[in-house]
Symmetry: C2
Subunit: 349 residues, 2 copies
């Protein structure tokens, strides 16, 4: 089959690789219907994370079950499934505590070092899914083509935006600012609206993303950043700032801006992968009582909550995809996101 | 009148100083009935915080109102009052949000730079209380002498221990570990029990404090620290750690231990004044989804909640005082706490 392999900085190739086969009784083989490029895939693409040797890449996918192992009981061949961006058993203590990203038996896509990980990623024709009963969520029936992008966001960005909002404690009436206008930031706007926030500020200076943010529920758009962005936010909320700030970037500057913008006693919900940024200023947090909570998003547990609203059309997070390419053009997909020509690219094998 | 003045490292003196007088219509003059030494007073005492010139010290007190300014409406001469360790108006946006330590008009004891601060502290015979209506809480009637230590803890340590527990999200059934066996740590144990924690581990290697922790509700005592302490805690809670860890010290080591002990998705509630420790490891927090929340405790807002239980004897946080001295022996009070001969010293003017 064909799959995407990263060879080094800005070197993405689609190559012929061995077809995946069942290795454990808990595995399933899934034919990928749609996959995508994640903002975090850009870290190795840009060389911020070093690629020592060529390896598979990708971790967001939806598809159809083609084979199941002898121990798989909750799936059938032909099921349409959503795979989260990680592998989990959905039964261990951490999974039951809602932190399936810390699954005691789970793992990750793209490296094969045990029963909880898979060499395959989403950016290919097929994947071996470990711990398939725990990892995959079945979508009832056969979803229409129009639904596919929306379903695909449940594998990562929509669940991650939702996790930012949940970690920030967004509830009915909350005032919220979202730092970051990538796909996750936009989904955080949508999630905040869904949770009943009374006012949502999107921090963005990109016209198309501002428009999407507004249609996702943003009541205000602030293009300023850094000190100016903080000052604008404070001004907009009685001089003290919004209740919650959602950090959806992961740089030193974005976290700093988030922490300084939240009102005293407020909360920062963060999901931006910290890209070598500094540590959190604990004395500032102490003085302002601004809490920080978040991390790698346990999206598996959110799929069941969000799926019905995607299926009935109330939630349309798939609108973050502004480019669709065939798998063979994966290199162009990365370039388009890297150069900010696209917010999020969908790949069709 | 006589009041405590710090002159430098390990140089505490009780001196004759001018009697306080009303300066603003919102002031009250309070005769101090009992005051105490705070763990945070030890930072300047030990020279960790530099003392450039002699100044008053102390910020925990209960007493009797002797005079009120023309704008004070909620207090009468003769009222027995509790003063929190800071000054606040109890009406601004931040106060209404439950963060009176960030009061827009408030301030601190021991420095006189506006209507929201007072040169006086608790460790003297009298204090000028700014924004008296907002700052002071009236205790009904005339409390017995036995009640005074318990009431005094509401000015800081009991409210601060409670804030740790609230910030950590302790609720019925939570599993909790408390790092720090000082007065605040012990009060955090008591607060966790009050909030319904199912299991409370006190981290302590001090026999008398272990015993007090147990009588405050600790179900377990762990003397190990650092890596060993983390391993013990993980072991005790199914290998993953407790839901909540309350950090009540403020050093690099204690915060590190707290962050590494909490289970994935858990929470650290912190109230230890960060003493030049490092910043928080955001990548660790990202990977584990352990949140961090806390800071300088808005105890003013907790007094009304805790006071009834102190008055009827259900809550006895004053048991943290293990030494009572006359004001004139303030220097010995500091030395006893510094050398850990006493957990918390009460001063009687």
């Amino acid at each position: 089959m064909r799959a995407t392999v990263i060879h080094g900085e800005r070197d993405i190739r689609v190559e012929e690789v061995p077809d995946p086969v069942l290795r454990y009784g808990t595995d399933a083989i899934v034919r990928v219907v749609a996959a995508c490029v994640c903002g975090s895939d850009l870290w190795p693409y840009r060389g911020v994370q070093r690629t020592d040797s060529p390896h598979r890449i990708g971790h967001e996918l939806v598809g159809v079950v083609e084979e199941i192992g002898t121990e798989v009981s909750g799936l059938s061949v032909g099921d349409f499934v959503i795979a989260p961006f990680y592998v989990c058993d959905s039964t261990c203590l951490n999974c039951r505590n809602g932190v399936s990203t810390s699954c005691l038996n789970g793992g990750w896509w793209g490296s094969e070092d045990g029963p909880g990980s898979s060499l395959d990623g989403g950016q290919g024709e097929r994947v071996r899914v470990p711990l398939a009963d725990g990892t995959l969520v079945v979508v009832p029936g056969t979803p229409s083509d129009e639904l596919v992008p929306h379903l695909l966001t449940l594998s990562d960005v929509m669940g991650t935006g939702h996790h930012a909002a949940v970690s920030g404690g967004v509830r009915a009436g909350s005032t919220v600012a979202v730092v970051g206008d990538g796909a996750v930031g936009l989904c955080a706007v949508l999630a905040s609206q869904r949770l009943g926030a009374s006012r949502i500020v999107a921090m963005s200076r990109h016209e198309a993303r501002q428009a999407l943010a507004r249609s996702f529920g943003a009541t205000d758009v602030v293009p300023e950043r850094g000190d100016e962005g903080v000052a604008r936010l404070k001004d907009m909320f009685s001089g003290i700032g919004p209740d919650v700030v959602l950090e959806c970037v992961g740089t030193k500057e974005s976290m700093d801006q988030a922490l300084r913008s939240a009102r005293p006693g407020g909360q920062v919900g963060f999901v931006g992968v910290p890209s070598g940024g500094p540590e959190l200023p604990v004395r500032t947090m102490f003085g302002t009582n601004v809490g920080v909570r978040g991390g790698v998003a346990p999206v598996r547990g959110y799929i069941e909550e969000l799926l019905p609203e995607v299926l009935d059309g109330r939630l349309q997070p798939g609108r973050v995809f502004d480019l669709t390419l065939p798998l063979d053009q994966a290199a162009e997909a990365y370039a388009a996101m890297d150069e900010r020509r696209a917010t999020k690219v969908l790949l069709r094998p």
